[in-house]
């Protein structure tokens, strides 16, 4: 089995961190009648630095136009910006620009892929697309660790195609049980869709091992990189997956934009699943021919301003350096995990150490419901997420149904993490539990 990466934890130096924080005006906010905000919900959505906002404003005020249509000056400039942005996003994940399809987010990307596979399953795309077709007797493999957006679309595709849905289980430490791969990924498996990291346990998947099992039976691999893309260096071609999805708003960019990555040789023969303007070549009253990828998959007017903002976001991250982002968050995570370990009546969902783990720290309080804990923490200024975080099955697998989750970002400080750990210790006493 391939070893999981173990980043060398290293905080970003204080002065540099202060400068980074100054780029995020929202971090100066006070909430709930005057307590300073401590933003620990970057796993849900990251905050945006001013360069992102400025890039969006510059575009909207100076170059706004629909792209890939029209030949006037603005249309030309906007198209140029849009394609440059595609290049930036592609570089960020080690891909070629043509391998990046803009979508509304990770959810949009997975649904887009599922629509295409569904189209292939009904014969669209011709013989070249038969490799994507699913039918009765085939198997789609997912995992118990999936966010609903990388689970429900596959349930639906299974129901429509007649394929069977199977899944890898999660062990008590929150990691996927990769020992079961050979039983679950059978010869009939056509697709293996799995998360790069759980948005509950923070466990990072050993991608190479899953890819090897899938390749062994000729199955397509689909990686949900929503949680990892903004927090560690991600090289999608290097990981060897066929498709991947990630979101702008989890990588310091705006809402409403994300990408589907697809290996170019696959995108070239994959039929579209969404149809409309811009993605076609010739349209008659009865049929249409389609553009090459990625345009084939970008039907309709695109959210160009958001794409431009997202590109500024990944450039911002790249300037800091993703390895340093990862190291900083690892140092904060180590601190937070140590803090959590010392709080009585608190159970950690997920691996206890930083090896192969993101700064996503979900806990359960003995005797206090997460909604109540979250409300109390919120009154102290801590923005954490409570509930199932759109991942009900993994909670169930870990013997619970909800949790209180803190997720870190590059702009978080050791002081914030320490304050949060200290506050965790006051939750149960506040509710009169466990004295």
């Amino acid at each position: 089995m391939t070893a999981l990466s173990m980043p060398e934890p290293a905080l970003i130096p204080e002065a540099e961190l202060a400068a980074i924080r100054a780029d995020f005006p929202i971090l100066q906010r006070q909430v709930r009648g005057g307590v300073p905000l401590v933003y620990l919900d970057s796993g849900a959505t990251t905050q945006r630095p001013t360069p992102v906002l400025h890039a969006m404003e510059d575009f909207a005020t100076g170059r706004n136009a629909a792209v890939h249509r029209g030949a006037h000056a603005l249309a030309e400039e906007a198209t140029e910006d849009y394609e440059e942005a595609r290049g930036d996003i592609a570089r960020f994940v080690g891909a070629r620009p043509e391998e990046i399809v803009f979508t509304s987010g990770t959810t949009g990307a997975i649904n887009l892929l599922v629509s295409s596979l569904d189209a292939a399953s009904t014969g669209r795309g011709g013989p070249a697309a038969w490799q994507f077709a699913l039918t009765r007797g085939d198997r789609i493999v997912v995992t118990q660790a999936e966010h609903h957006s990388n689970l429900v679309p596959w349930q639906e595709l299974a129901a429509r195609s007649g394929a069977e849905l199977a899944w890898l289980r999660v062990g008590p430490d929150g990691r996927l049980r990769l020992d079961d791969l050979s039983q679950v990924v059978t010869a009939h498996t056509k697709v293996v869709a799995f998360t790069h990291a759980s948005n509950v346990t923070g466990a990072v998947t050993d991608v190479a091992t899953v890819v090897a099992a899938a390749k062994g039976v000729g199955a397509l691999t689909v990686l949900d990189a929503a949680q990892t893309a903004g927090h560690m260096p991600v090289d999608l071609p290097g990981l060897g997956v066929d498709f991947a999805a990630f979101s702008g708003h989890k990588t310091l960019g705006p809402h409403g934009v994300g990408a589907l990555y697809g290996r170019l040789d696959l995108l070239e023969v994959l039929p579209p699943g969404f149809y409309g303007g811009s993605m076609v070549e010739i349209v008659t009253m009865t049929e249409a021919t389609f553009q090459p990828p990625p345009t084939r998959f970008e039907a309709g007017t695109q959210p160009v301003t958001e794409v431009i903002g997202w590109a500024a976001a990944v450039r911002y991250l790249s300037e800091i350096g993703m390895a340093r982002v990862e190291a900083h968050e690892a140092a904060l995570t180590a601190r937070l995990l140590a803090g959590v370990a010392g709080v009585p009546g608190v159970r950690l969902l997920g691996p206890p150490g930083i090896d192969g783990r993101l700064g996503c720290v979900a806990v359960e309080f003995d005797g206090v419901h997460p909604h109540d804990a979250g409300q109390y923490l919120d009154s102290l200024g801590f923005a954490v997420r409570v509930g199932h975080h759109c991942a009900q099955p993994v909670h169930r697998a870990l013997g619970t149904h909800t949790s209180t989750r803190a997720t870190l970002g590059v702009y978080n400080t050791p002081a914030e993490v320490d304050a949060y750990a200290a506050a965790l210790a006051t939750v149960r006493p506040y509710f009169g539990v466990g004295e």
Partner: protein
């Protein structure tokens, strides 16, 4: 860096977590499913996955709520709200149950601006949940049981005593 200060945030926490609410949440009333029932409902709070399954029986004339029993898991607001509701509605005529549900809905959507006196008076102990209305994300918690009640009563009144749909593997 001043982080994690104790500011005004805790003040409205006290309004939210009234003693009555904490007491009911620790020892909820009416918990336990009825074996035989005239109407059943299963409701989920989509943000947290909290669930309640609630069963009612009607009086022989079909005009009153006779008994209520429920089971579920949830935060103190949702559990206390069901418990207080349980105490308020047992034995009421069905239109009174509906009116009470509407009054509670009004309270929940008041955004902390209060409700007319007659509405407040009709609510009895349920007025303790007024603080919840200042937290839009928690309103669903307080309404969970009331939604289940409305649904179960409607089914009972329509003679539909079929079990509620509960997803497999939950």
């Amino acid at each position: 860096m001043g982080v994690g200060g104790f500011g005004a945030g805790l003040g409205s926490m006290e309004q939210l977590y009234q003693q009555l609410i904490l007491d009911h949440s620790r020892r909820p009333h009416g918990k336990g499913l009825l074996e035989a029932f005239d109407g059943e409902s299963f409701q989920v709070n989509p943000t947290c996955g909290d669930q309640v399954r609630l069963r009612v029986t009607l009086a022989p004339d079909g005009a009153r709520l006779a008994t209520l029993g429920w089971d579920g898991q949830g935060c103190s607001i949702s559990q206390a709200s069901i418990s207080v509701m349980n105490d308020l509605v047992a034995g009421l005529a069905l239109p009174e149950v509906a009116a009470l549900g509407e009054a509670f809905g009004l309270l929940m959507h008041s955004r902390g601006r209060g409700v007319p006196d007659q509405v407040a008076d009709s609510l009895g102990d349920a007025i303790a949940f007024e603080g919840v209305s200042q937290y839009p994300m928690r309103v669903k918690c307080a309404l969970l049981g009331w939604m289940a009640l409305k649904d179960a009563v409607a089914k009972a009144a329509a003679g539909d005593s079929s079990p509620a749909h509960v997803p497999e593997g939950i």
